[in-house]
Amino acid sequence: MEIEDETETAPLPQRKSLSLVNARLVDPASGLDAFGGLLIANGTIADLGMHITEGSVEGTESLDCGGRTVAPGLIDMMVFCGEPGHEHRETLATASRAAAAGGVTTMCCMPDTDPVIDDVALVDFILRRARDTALVHVHPMAAMTRELKGEDMAELGLLRDAGAIAFTNGKASVANAKLMRNVLSYAKDYGALIVHHLQDADLADNGVMNEGEVATRLGLRGIPTEAETIMLDRDIRLVELTGGRYHAAQISCRASLEVIQTAKARGLPVTCGVSINHLTLNENDIGPYRTFFKMTPPLRDEDDRQAMVEGVASGDIDVIVSAHDPRGAEGKRRPFAEANDGAVGLETMLGAGLRLFHNGSITLHRLLNALSARPAELLRLGGGRLVKGAPADLVLIDLEMPWTVEPGDLRSKSKNTPFDEARFEGRALVTFVAGRPVYHYA
């Protein structure tokens, strides 16, 4: 299957239906895990089950999956893209290619662009550029405050009508509690989801990595976990006050997990995410000032990493994100304290996540749930499910295939991966968006 640049705007011609046969069908939402086949027609899942076999449906092409896994395509709630403003780092087109190669069929792009996505026209721009250039579904998350400054509320209602899937303040936390209260309260009227980055800027005080022994040894300024947890605590109180739907974009430490668990136990509309980096790496990976491991929130210690894994295993952490953040050499080839935060992750999220499945810490269903079904629920999208009538956004996964991450082969324009030369077991073989193959592993 040859993937070509899709620049035409005309609707695609009616495609023949396709059956995926001899597959292990895994639907994390329903718990389905069965051998069988799946019929794709008109961009949706037309049927699935044991009865779909090679030649069972007249006039369909069929793809023999050889017993490999067919699962809902991944939905990534946090992708920083350079378009508009920083196209040299990444465009929607290149990010979408990276996504397709990583089994990601839907990505939410963050508003931290130049200009910031805080205006109806910019939401419209993203949607049109994505339609014209991207291989996967793209949903913009809009800024909840103008220019992400944390001073004035953005036009949440108009932005939502224009197609903003949720609201966030990007990589900046809203320090003003009154503004945060008003945003949560106002967004509630629209049922909109507020996604918040957690870092108290004063407490973080220009820190560049996790506070503790490693930072002290390296002579780098530390950020205590409390900078995250205090902000989360405050937000939970405001959720209680307002009843707004709230999603902690990324948590990174055990104390934050405990705050989330308590809030959920009290029935508050609170959910949270964790990045694949915080599930699989810790502060020791920074070693001799390796800037590809610099990110926000910073990588924490091993106990915090284990807490994150436990949180996904128990379901208390709802969503895994790639936190894909392309950065060029000009931002990364610097002394650690002066380097940019961020790591690319769209192509490596599944492989890195499967490490946790292979070492027995997270079941396949829990992993895929956090990567597809749960984000679909939070964003109220139709995907993330293997059921009749759902969009045929699918990924065919070889759970066992060994491969090595070669930064030069990454489809992302920027190559700042912390998984340079990492050996993974398992990857996406074919990715389908609306029934159409957009990636085929060569």
Binding site: T216, P288, P335, F336
Partner: protein
């Protein structure tokens, strides 16, 4: 200990009328300072000249060019001029190591942010050895702004390696998280921290620390952490007083103590030249000759 022995010999060479040797004859040494320095830069310059090298000083104030951008660019540019030795100071931790990856010559760390300052620790060790003739079993109290001090980090590493017992003394806001796991005993009281110490090493207090609310005032700092005769009396009778300079008299150290009989601060400066000669000479043995 060969580096310290070499330094001792260099110290003797520096006290002769004829101070020059030819270990680095024909070699080019560049002092590349991204952060202002008086004594480190001049002592490397003298050390290079006494060994017969051509020495060039480059001071690159960070304000003139956007931070960080200069580092790799400057490294590549300088590398093209084919120096044999680069002495580098930078305001960011890890910057010297990053630069060393981009050049073909020997690179000496003359201080990188709050990380390390290896030649300072060597000159401190040499000074201690000249007075105490050993390291094993000595108690060294490092006092002051431990959190931001590269001098403290390098001294902790070196003194632990040679068998001294290292204490750090500072208010909790200047100790640094996890400092206990660096192989030191930590104290928040000078009274306890200096008790029976053989060496009292004071650190410079930057004025910015007051601005960021780490300590309330100079006056209060001097009262509790400034080294005066009374606090020094807690240490052993033959304890020596050290300071990497430049000193803030009346902030971290009383003028009488700084200039007193137990102060070896001026000797530290002399040993600074000697240690840097030894480091350069040791590296010169391994420079390519073709």
């Amino acid at each position: 200990m060969s580096l310290l022995d070499l330094s001792q010999a260099a110290a003797e060479q520096s006290r002769q009328v004829e101070k020059k040797s030819s270990h680095l004859r024909g070699r080019t040494l560049i002092n590349l300072f991204f952060e202002a320095s008086t004594r480190t830069q001049s002592s490397f310059e003298l050390a290079g000249k006494r060994l017969g090298a051509d020495v060039m000083n480059m001071s690159i104030p960070t304000s003139s060019i956007k931070k960080g951008e200069t580092l790799i660019d400057t490294a590549v540019t300088l590398n093209a001029m084919r120096p044999d030795l680069l002495v580098v100071r930078h305001h960011a931790a890890g910057a010297v190591e990053l630069l060393s990856q981009k050049v073909d010559c020997s690179v000496i760390n003359a201080g990188d942010g709050s990380h390390e300052h290896p030649t300072q620790a060597l000159l401190d060790a040499l000074t201690i050895r000249r007075h105490k003739e050993r390291f094993e079993g000595l108690t060294v109290a490092i006092c002051g702004d431990i959190m931001h001090s590269r001098v403290a980090r390098s001294n902790i590493l070196l003194l632990n390696t040679v068998g001294a017992r290292v204490r750090v003394v500072a208010p909790s806001t200047l100790l640094g998280e996890g400092v206990d796991r660096l192989g030191v005993e930590s104290f928040t009281s000078m009274h306890e921290g200096l008790k029976d110490a053989d060496v009292v090493m004071m650190l410079r207090l930057q004025r910015e620390r007051m601005a960021s609310s780490l300590i309330p005032s100079q006056r209060e700092y001097f009262h509790f952490y400034g080294l005066d005769a009374e606090k020094l009396a807690r240490a052993k009778d033959d304890a020596i007083v050290m300071h990497p300079g430049p000193m803030n008299r009346g902030v971290e150290i009383d003028a009488h103590v700084a200039d007193g009989a137990r102060s070896v601060i001026r000797e530290q400066v002399e040993m600074g030249v000697a240690v840097r000669m030894a480091v350069l000479q040791a590296l010169a043995c391994h420079l390519p000759n073709e």
